[in-house]
């Protein structure tokens, strides 16, 4: 299976992607993750203003066959969520990196960014998982 791994994004081992923009970060789930979950039918979003530690569950994505967690890749506060996903959860499948974004966070520890994976590293990890 061929998946997309945009080069300008950062990644996690739990299959989130992160777009760093100044003091903000946009977060979603990767193309590989949406393929694994299958057709997403429901997305449970956190409330804006909530703060999470890195590694805690911030959102839930439910498909016909499974439920996946979106895990906070960076500690910080939720400053926006993609409300379109409430009515159109399929955006995560159709456009995981653009229209299917999930959270916008104001991160609190910039040094955590260094621990995120590059597209190349994440791609290697996924290829190993596939074997």
């Amino acid at each position: 299976m061929e998946y997309k791994f945009p080069n300008d994004l950062k990644y996690t081992l739990t299959h989130e992607w992160i777009r760093i923009e100044d003091s903000f970060a946009i977060v979603g789930i990767t193309d590989f993750a949406q393929h694994q979950l299958g057709d997403i039918v429901f997305v449970e979003l956190p409330e804006v203003g909530m703060a999470f530690e890195r590694g805690s569950n911030a959102a839930e994505l439910e498909s016909v066959k499974a439920v996946g967690d979106l895990i906070m890749p960076l500690s910080g506060e939720i400053i926006d969520v993609n409300k379109n996903l409430t009515d159109k959860p399929e955006l995560v499948n159709l456009s995981p990196f653009i229209d299917g974004w999930v959270l916008k966070i104001e991160y609190s520890h910039a040094n955590e960014i260094d621990e995120l994976l590059s597209a190349e590293k994440y791609k290697q990890f996924v290829q190993n998982e596939e074997k």
């Binding site: 694994q36 039918v41 066959k65 499974a66």
Partner: protein, 478 residues
């Protein structure tokens, strides 16, 4: 098979007015004196149909039904064994069905409950039981509330429950409902609990206990079980046994001997009472002596005057079900245990394991078996490597076309495309061979006619449902 599914109201006969309401044989009262007019219903939609229409309607519906009395029901972790009809005969004795728990003369029923608790104690090794929980997950909640109360009473703060990723989904849900937070352990390559991860989690502190299913949902018996329970105890935690998979252990090994402190049983699975379609079930909880004071009240005890109730127990977590639980289910389980006896129950465990392994070995010739080792009551296949990208869902739908119920699919979550197969001890070799033949035929179809599978089922009253649209855009009313 008649595929026309109409509700009885669609069959309403407008031309003939049926008159089947019998004449009143009691004194009539003015309705307004009993119920205020604004709360009265003016219409009563009783379908206007003839007797034969009613009979045909329900006979045709029953013909569409599928149960273990129709054929094999290999639904993993559900233990859909045959429910002997003697259970029904006994549960329907007039002395059982024409009694109310509030009447004073009910010594026979209390004795049956007490004796059932004793038998379950013998089977599991536990010192005390409550029969109140109405289902397995209800039992889990009761067990966790007991753990919570136990530590509260000792004034020890413990907030976490450890649960491996091979557990039933109800385990983390019950733990959360009881107010605990959950630490998930990732199973190792043998499908067992990784001891190093377990010890790491215990060292972090604050662990109230572990919830384990053994054999787990992969059908694998955890060989390190005594070390697991020893470690949890060493760090001051309690060990909870999810008895959903007890069937293969019957008469062979007991949760108490594995080191567990609390166990729930599913009478509706292991002890052959009808289930599926929403119950009723029964999920008794057994505990070690130290935890008996925390059991729900009232508790039964034996005295010179017979079996008595104890309602004065300050440490009890309180009542969790009206009266004595699902009494009718308990009668059936009692009848089953007595009919089989100790030797018979042991045979149940042995044949359940033999049947599962027979299927496992013959099915792995074609299907992928992610954990290739001797299984207990069930095993997991996956859709990896099936030709033409045929998925587990396609296979499950095609199985229905052959007049067989499908296995549990896409569970456990740790195996992608899982098919979880539990034949139980009550299937004959002939029935198992038939299942294998169907599975092999389907594999051939996947290779040569994949479209047949992708569009299955073909012979069912309802064809493939669009599960995605149904979930995204549900129609919840007309």
């Amino acid at each position: 098979m008649n595929s026309n599914i109409q509700s009885i109201f669609d069959k309403e006969n407008e031309t003939i007015q049926m008159n089947f309401v019998p004449k009143m044989d009691i004194e009539q009262t003015n309705l307004n004196q009993i119920i205020p007019e604004n709360l009265q219903r003016k219409d009563l939609p009783i379908p206007n149909v003839t007797e034969i229409e009613i009979v045909r309607h329900f006979i045709n519906l029953s013909n569409k039904n599928y149960g273990v009395d129709t054929g094999i029901y290999p639904l993993g972790s559900c233990t859909m064994k045959y429910n002997p009809k003697i259970n029904e005969t006994i549960a329907k004795l007039s002395d059982f069905i024409n009694i109310h728990p509030l009447q004073e003369e009910n010594q026979g029923c209390l004795e049956l409950l007490y004796h059932t608790s004793e038998l379950l104690g013998e089977i599991t090794g536990m010192d005390g039981f409550t029969l109140q929980p109405a289902a397995g997950a209800h039992g889990e909640l009761v067990g966790l509330l007991i753990i919570k109360k136990f530590f509260e009473n000792k004034r020890i703060k413990k907030q976490k429950i450890i649960i491996p990723d091979s557990a039933h989904g109800t385990n983390p849900a019950s733990a959360k409902m009881a107010g605990f937070s959950i630490i998930e352990l990732t199973s190792n390559e043998f499908g067992e609990v990784p001891l190093d991860q377990l010890e790491f989690a215990l060292k972090e502190g604050d662990v109230a206990g572990i919830m384990l299913t053994n054999p787990n949902t992969l059908g694998i018996f955890d060989r390190q079980i005594k070390e697991i329970t020893r470690l949890v105890h060493q760090y001051g935690g309690l060990c909870y046994y999810d008895g959903a998979n007890l069937n293969p252990m019957l008469g062979i090994c007991r949760p108490r001997d594995m080191g567990f402190d609390i166990v729930h049983l599913n009478l509706h699975k292991t002890f052959s009472t009808p289930h599926g379609g929403g119950g009723p079930g029964s999920g008794p909880i057994g505990v070690i002596e130290e935890l008996i004071p925390y059991l729900p009240k009232p508790c039964l005890f034996s005295s010179e005057k017979g079996i008595m109730c104890n309602n004065n127990n300050d440490l009890s977590i309180g009542r969790i079900k009206a009266f004595w639980g699902n009494f009718g289910v308990i009668i059936r389980a009692y009848a089953y245990i007595l009919a089989l006896g100790a030797e018979g129950l042991k045979k149940v465990g042995e044949i359940a394991v033999l049947n599962a392994n027979y299927l496992r070995v013959l099915l792995k010739e074609k299907y992928n078996l992610p954990f290739n080792r001797i299984c207990q009551h069930e095993f997991i296949l996956s859709d990896q490597g099936i030709p033409n990208e045929i998925t587990t869902e396609d296979i499950a739908k095609r199985i229905l076309d052959y007049g067989i119920y499908a296995p549990t699919i896409y569970f456990p979550l740790i195996v992608p495309g899982a098919m979880m197969i539990e034949p139980t001890e009550t299937e004959s070799k002939h029935s198992l061979d038939n299942f294998i033949e169907v599975m092999n035929k389907i594999y051939e179809e996947a290779r040569t006619q994949p479209e047949l599978l992708k569009e299955a089922p073909h012979n069912m009253p309802i064809k493939r449902l669009d599960a995605v649209t149904a979930a995204r855009k549900p129609i919840l009313h007309d």
